[in-house]
């Protein structure tokens, strides 16, 4: 992900956000279109697919929910798996507190709705590089980053819904979803702790594959989180 570190002082924090947000359209367009295609393929109506995209507005969790639903998992497991994928956003939320905690409630609520990987990572990078920004400027910047991304996120799902009806089975779209997840996993391997967490996630999930849908994955995720945190702590003590 490219994050602009332009040094020129922005006269307008909102426009600076727009400028830094637009390159992400190249991620959003295929990803959102794909959600429309896969959701339609899975049997969701247009309104349901758009409901996911507009109300949930979290790509990985939407795909996770869809995957579980295609396996006819119990509803509670669909919900837990998708929300588990989103738990990282609690950390995003926590790390924004020092920067935006003093903003009015409606602004914090809007930032929360728009808080996904691209907006968060771009904004937090800017806040840390420019501690002189006012709270109002930080809010404007965050909304600016979201401005090119969010309407495309909605619109391209709609395109995918219509295109999906024309896409034949031979295109093997079943496997585009795993490819999307795998593509997200690669860049996550930031340290030995992350590799260890991923390994434990895979081993435990495969070992518990016969448990009711979703249960094994949740146990695997908890084991992997503890593993990652433990390995990281161990590495810090060695260093």
């Amino acid at each position: 992900m490219s994050v602009s570190t332009a040094k020129a002082p922005a006269k307008n924090a909102y426009l600076a956000g727009v400028r830094d947000g637009w390159p992400f359209i190249f991620v959003v367009i295929p990803f959102s279109t794909l959600f429309g295609v896969v959701a339609t393929d899975a049997g969701l109506t247009l309104a349901q697919a758009m409901g996911f995209t507009v109300l949930v507005i979290a790509g990985a969790a939407q795909f996770a929910a869809l995957q579980m639903m295609m396996e006819n998992a119990g509803i509670i497991f669909v919900l837990l798996a998708a929300l588990a994928v989103n738990l990282r956003m609690a950390m995003y939320s926590a790390s924004l507190v020092p920067h935006l905690g003093a903003a009015p409630l409606w602004q914090r609520a809007l930032v929360s709705y728009l808080n996904f990987d691209q907006t968060y990572i771009t904004s937090i990078t800017r806040y840390e590089a420019r501690p002189e920004m006012t709270v109002a400027e930080r809010f404007q910047y965050f909304v600016g980053v979201a401005t090119p991304i969010t309407p495309l996120w909605y619109g391209m799902t709609l395109v995918g819904i219509y295109a999906g009806e024309a896409i034949p089975e031979a295109w093997a779209l079943d496997f585009i979803l795993p490819i999307t997840f795998l593509a997200m996993v690669g860049p996550m391997m930031k340290s030995l702790a992350h590799v260890a967490a991923a390994a434990v996630s895979i081993i435990v999930a495969l070992a518990l594959i016969s448990l009711p849908s979703g249960t094994g994955l949740l146990i695997a995720a908890l084991a992997a989180m503890v593993t990652g945190a433990a390995v990281e702590t161990w590495m810090e003590r060695r260093a």
Binding site: A82, M89, A172, P178, L182, H194, T233
Partner: protein, 111 residues
């Protein structure tokens, strides 16, 4: 998919509210109080703890081949992961994986 329309809308509603509450949690409610470092540390590993376990069975036993391991999909999965590791870029991983998948399917169809 065997859910009723009401069940699907229920899933969407709970995920919408739940996702918003996760995003709103600390920013909205905690204010400036500091977080326990152990919680932050565990949360940081959430994505990498969930996605690999979710994707592994899909790669080993693809639904499209009736759960039989499939060489083309396996190679595409390895290529996607390798490109993601190399470029640190999600989009390149998706493109590279898709190209590998379709090249593999094309070659298989010709053989």
């Amino acid at each position: 998919m065997t859910y009723s329309s009401a069940e699907i809308w229920g899933i969407i509603a709970v995920l919408a509210v739940g996702t918003f509450l996760i995003r709103f949690s600390f920013l909205g409610l905690i204010g400036d109080r500091p977080m326990p470092p152990i919680i932050l540390r565990l949360l940081r590993f959430t994505p990498v703890a969930v996605l690999p376990g979710m994707v592994a069975p899909l790669v080993l036993w693809p639904a499209a081949t009736g759960g039989q391991p499939d060489l083309v999909r396996m190679i595409a999965a390895i290529a996607t992961l390798a490109i993601g590791l190399w470029t640190r870029n999600v989009l390149w991983g998706i493109i590279g994986g898709a190209v590998t998948l379709y090249a593999g399917l094309g070659v298989t169809a010709l053989l």
